[in-house]
Subunit: 638 residues, 2 copies
């Protein structure tokens, strides 16, 4: 059982590991059309190619950076202060929202007045909540549909392009081989995109059009101005979400903030706070104020805590109050299980694992107890009113997702999905942003059906899936079982993948599990980008493989998703710094490196002043003798 | 750097961890048509369902067992003695082979005569090598084509069926709900099998026919009578291989034997000894004599050691001697890179990572140095003569496989694959068993092309792939990147998946890495079996999910691929034994368990004496009031 030392706001501090610089990396900002559109990227510098391999300059690579100011050494981080509100001015400028005199949710007000919470309350919030002016709609979709390109949209366009053009130019300028290298290092295989529309370059107008169409969302609550804008949609880079949150059995506020900063360091694009334990309200405040990525929640969890776990005592009024409470804190998207209809519940009777969604089972219980449709469904339009007053996006929950291979793609699951499609149309009528949650446990051959039906029934609203897990038999390894399904469904069109950690089905993930889950999903998302043929997706693979071939060990580590682990694994056998330029590793030893042998072959050809291909095609008999003579085994030193 | 304490045969001992009993597991043997056909399976017993969930008896589950006598507590293991030769009698009975007076390879004899090797030589081999009588062919394919069903084939048929019928019967007998349970627990989703022909039950005749057709192989050298017969083919369970072996930089004989016993404990179906370091011959002897699974090697590695790493000095004569040396030790399959043709080498010139196969690069170097086709290609039929004299199966090596996403499916790779198809026809002419090695690094959208071309060009000879890795950017996590590709290509028709460990590209795997790789590939192979619709594949998932739903925590752990890790993860937060029957875990805590809530719903329906579905459909208004009254939250204790 976790010790959970008591948390005091006064000595809360950022996790030192979360702000350590990543090796050979630099935070850069790309400026947009106005000076306050400053889009962060991580620039990874590389060593030059050793002379005997060609000696070229390898320009830096730019990678998508979710880590916010934590990885900027010029920013002083104090988690008791929170992050600066980078979108504050943009929100103000639009003139369609107003600052409230205080919190408008009953619960929010009551928590604010509890003196015994003072010691753990986030101390740094000095601004009041903001809400749309009466009759106004502050959702990014609303702007998009009126033809307005917001700074958020411009920011996203710059972010998604990852300075690809600049990289190409710097390759061209890198030496006599520049043109050839530029071509090779930006080359990639044609994708198979199943109907996605991936432009060569993302423009702000494209972002706007996709949001207007409902095919992408920008989760960006006006009360979370700290967010660095990002987009979730099938025509953009595949994103990943990390779940954190305490339970009744473990974890403190500081641990949860640490999990958040740790998750974004390794590439979490959004974070869901799924806390069901103590002090949910205060925990969330700490997380949001310190999060540069959108925060999602499942409000029904907190609502259930408010009625001491008695699902049947939930009411629309208190749920509504919970939505407002959280919206005024700045939650960027809400999971709403409005598709759990009374008539679908019997469809789960013959399931192997019944209802496994926490939200789904709560709503099912409520529906049964009251024998009527849930307030999420009957009050859906009122929920829309709240969502658009703060710009909270819907994540329509799959309360009836399958919890076992046995239950995959069954009647209950698909019936709910269809309802989510109908709710999407209602939300869109209100210009509310929507994504759709997906399973769960699904064997590989049934994954595509999930995606296809979602695209059809939900009119291409972004799909946001948990895995899916492709088998049930590997507890302890469910990040992997689900990483397989995640990569596949990402390829087929899912916009965001909700990670699964090794602790799935077994316990509450700790920091290590968070990282393991993040990296697994990062690679799954990247595999999906490659398979779809997302423009530029292969740049990082090409650069890393070139470094690998040229025995630039440090660059190989640094260009990877987890430089620390790569280095640690390498150094287990060959810890010396000299081994970082060695032309072998411990796998094969010095005599057996195939890459070294390949280079011998190339060197030989180069010495003849001909390309290797020519050398062979023009008849090599004589030359091959020379090859032996010059000592085929000798690696030509500089 | 590894310490490598000196190894002495006299105090070699089995790894204690490799012989520890697995929880709630029992080794059982299923007898075939003769008493010496005794097929091992692991029987995992389960607890009864708690009364409040229905109280049924859960019969034991049978799982495929690669661990050999190591997991049989009645067998005393002494690795200095080796395993009993369970196939010895079968081989003798066939009367087509003879015991030689001694080793016939020069190298084998010279090693046997070196006195300084006595201290590390395997002491337990008291039999002499065996070879086909002149003009005879001892390959399983040869028997199959002559219509003979060998004991090996019968053994395999029993093994592949996993007592499915018995399990079904025991479910039927398990109580009043027996018939319903039998149906549910053996139900599975229709597969998508891309042209595989999966019979409902595997018969010995089916095994014979598949081997005769070349669509499956049984690696079973007559000098490795210790093997428990197994089959590799697209119409059987997907298998996995684990690579072990030392390099010049690390690992001792005992460590390699430990890796082998560890690999088979967790499910390695075959093991390749890829040693390139010291005492390759002696290391291999220890491994084979103690291995119940087929052992594969890449003979060119050892051949290269014999010429001090000078590829151009390799000759047919010494390679031939190496084949005989290894065949007489009992290697069950040889990787032979005979498809690396001179004209294909220039095709690798513009690659990102050149030639990454060790064998491929060695042969390329030889071809260039001599400017002629390799002796593997020019002497291919002579190699066939050796293979059929001992029944060593071909694993036709993909020497030109891609080592980066960039190089996937390129001209060089596909040209070689076509040649492997031609060589397959030649080998089949000799009734030699063949499988085909495959890549490598391949983005998801290009994986299927690999499989399709292999099936077409190699006439459905079993495909045996390394991963493929679906991205290049995750050093340290390549077991996962490649597990994704492995699951997919297994689904498309690959017969055996060669594992990749977390150390790939970084260093020599240790025991932990071996296990991590094995479990990852076990789950990938299982995901593939499910997706293909392999009969009975879903039984284990169904049983585990049922245990999960019923909070039989121990059963959930024990039915998984790695009970130790599952339990460890669970116990990190809830170590007490009482938590093993708790109706919650640390993820959600006691109030939030969706499975518990689902059961509340079912209990309610049951108490009304109606099915849940009926309860709802017949109008629940009154009953729902009762539901609330009886205390919806109260979990009904026994």
């Amino acid at each position: 059982m976790n010790a959970n030392p008591e948390f005091f706001a006064s000595n809360a501090h950022v996790d030192a590991a979360a702000i350590e610089p990543l090796p050979n990396s630099r935070k850069v900002y790309v400026e947009g059309s106005r000076p306050d559109v400053r889009v962060p990227m991580r620039e990874i510098s590389q060593a030059d190619t050793p002379t005997h391999f060609g000696g070229e300059t390898n320009p830096p690579i730019y990678v998508y950076d979710c880590s916010g100011p934590y990885s900027d050494p010029t920013v002083k981080i104090d988690i008791r202060e929170g992050l600066p509100g980078l979108r504050t001015k943009w929100i103000e400028e639009r003139g369609d929202s107003e600052v409230l005199s205080g919190l408008t949710s009953e619960y929010g007000r009551s928590r604010a007045n509890m003196e015994n919470l003072a010691r753990l309350r986030f101390p740094g919030l000095h601004r009041k909540p903001r809400r749309a002016k009466p009759g106004m709609n502050v959702s990014q979709m609303h702007y998009a549909r009126r033809g307005i390109i917001t700074p958020e949209m411009e920011y996203i366009a710059i972010r998604e392009n990852l300075r690809r053009q600049e990289y190409l130019e710097s390759l061209r300028r890198s030496g006599p081989q520049g043109e050839r290298l530029a071509k090779a290092l930006t080359r990639q295989h044609p994708g198979q995109n199943f109907g996605a529309a991936l432009p060569e370059e993302i423009t702000a107008e494209f972002v706007r059009a996709e949001v207007a169409r409902g095919r992408a969302i920008i989760p960006a609550n006006i009360n979370h101005p700290e967010t660095e804008p990002m987009i979730i949609g099938r025509n953009f880079l595949v994103k990943i979400n990390a779940n954190i949150g305490n339970s009744a059995l473990g974890s403190s506020i500081n641990e949860e903030v640490d999990k958040m900063t740790w998750a974004i360091r390794w590439g979490g694009d959004t974070v869901m706070d799924l806390s069901t334990g103590k002090n949910i309200h205060e925990t969330r405040e700490w997380i949001i104020r310190n999060s540069p990525v959108p925060i999602g929640t499942v409000p029904i969890y907190q609502a259930l805590e408010k009625v001491d776990g008695k699902a049947e005592e939930l009411t629309w009024e208190m749920f509504r109050d919970t939505l407002i409470e959280q919206a005024e804190q700045g939650v960027d998207y809400f999971t709403i299980h409005a598709g759990v209809l009374l008539r679908y519940i019997p469809m789960t009777a013959e399931r192997m694992t019944g209802i496994v969604s926490r939200g789904g089972s709560i709503m099912a219980k409520w529906c049964l107890a009251h024998h009527k449709e849930s307030f999420l469904y009957t009050h859906f339009e009122e929920i829309c009113e709240i969502m658009k007053a703060y710009d909270v996006a819907f994540s329509l929950g799959d309360g009836l997702r399958p919890g076992s291979i046995y239950d995959a793609n069954d009647e209950a699951q698909l019936a709910e999905l269809k309802t989510l499609g109908e709710l999407t149309q209602i939300a869109w009528k209100h210009d509310c942003q929507v994504m759709i949650e997906g399973p769960g446990h699904v064997p590989m051959q049934l994954i595509k059906e999930n995606m296809d039906k979602e695209l059809e029934w939900c009119d291409e609203a972004p799909f946001y899936t948990l895995g899916p897990l492709t088998t049930d038999i590997a507890p302890g390894y469910d990040h992997i079982t689900s990483g397989i399904g995640a990569a596949m469904i990402g390829w087929y069109g899912t916009a965001m993948l909700c990670y699964v950690t090794p602790k799935e089905h077994l316990g509450l993930p700790d920091k290590n599990d968070v990282k393991e889950g993040i990296i697994t999903y990062k690679l799954a998302a990247h595999a999906a980008d490659l398979a779809k043929g997302h423009p530029g997706a292969q740049i990082r693979d090409n650069a890393l493989s070139k470094a690998r071939f040229e025995f630039r060990w440090d660059d190989q580590f640094n260009l990877g998703l987890d430089p620390d682990k790569a280095r640690e694994f390498h150094d287990e056998t060959l810890p010396k710094e000299s081994a970082k330029v060695a032309h072998f590793c411990s796998m094969c030893g010095p005599h057996f490196c195939s890459m070294k042998i390949t280079q011998d072959v190339r060197d030989f050809a180069a010495k003849q002043g001909i390309s290797e291909a020519d050398a062979l095609e023009k008849g090599m008999e004589v030359k091959s003798v020379e090859f032996v003579k010059t000592g085929a085994e000798v690696y030509h030193k500089v």
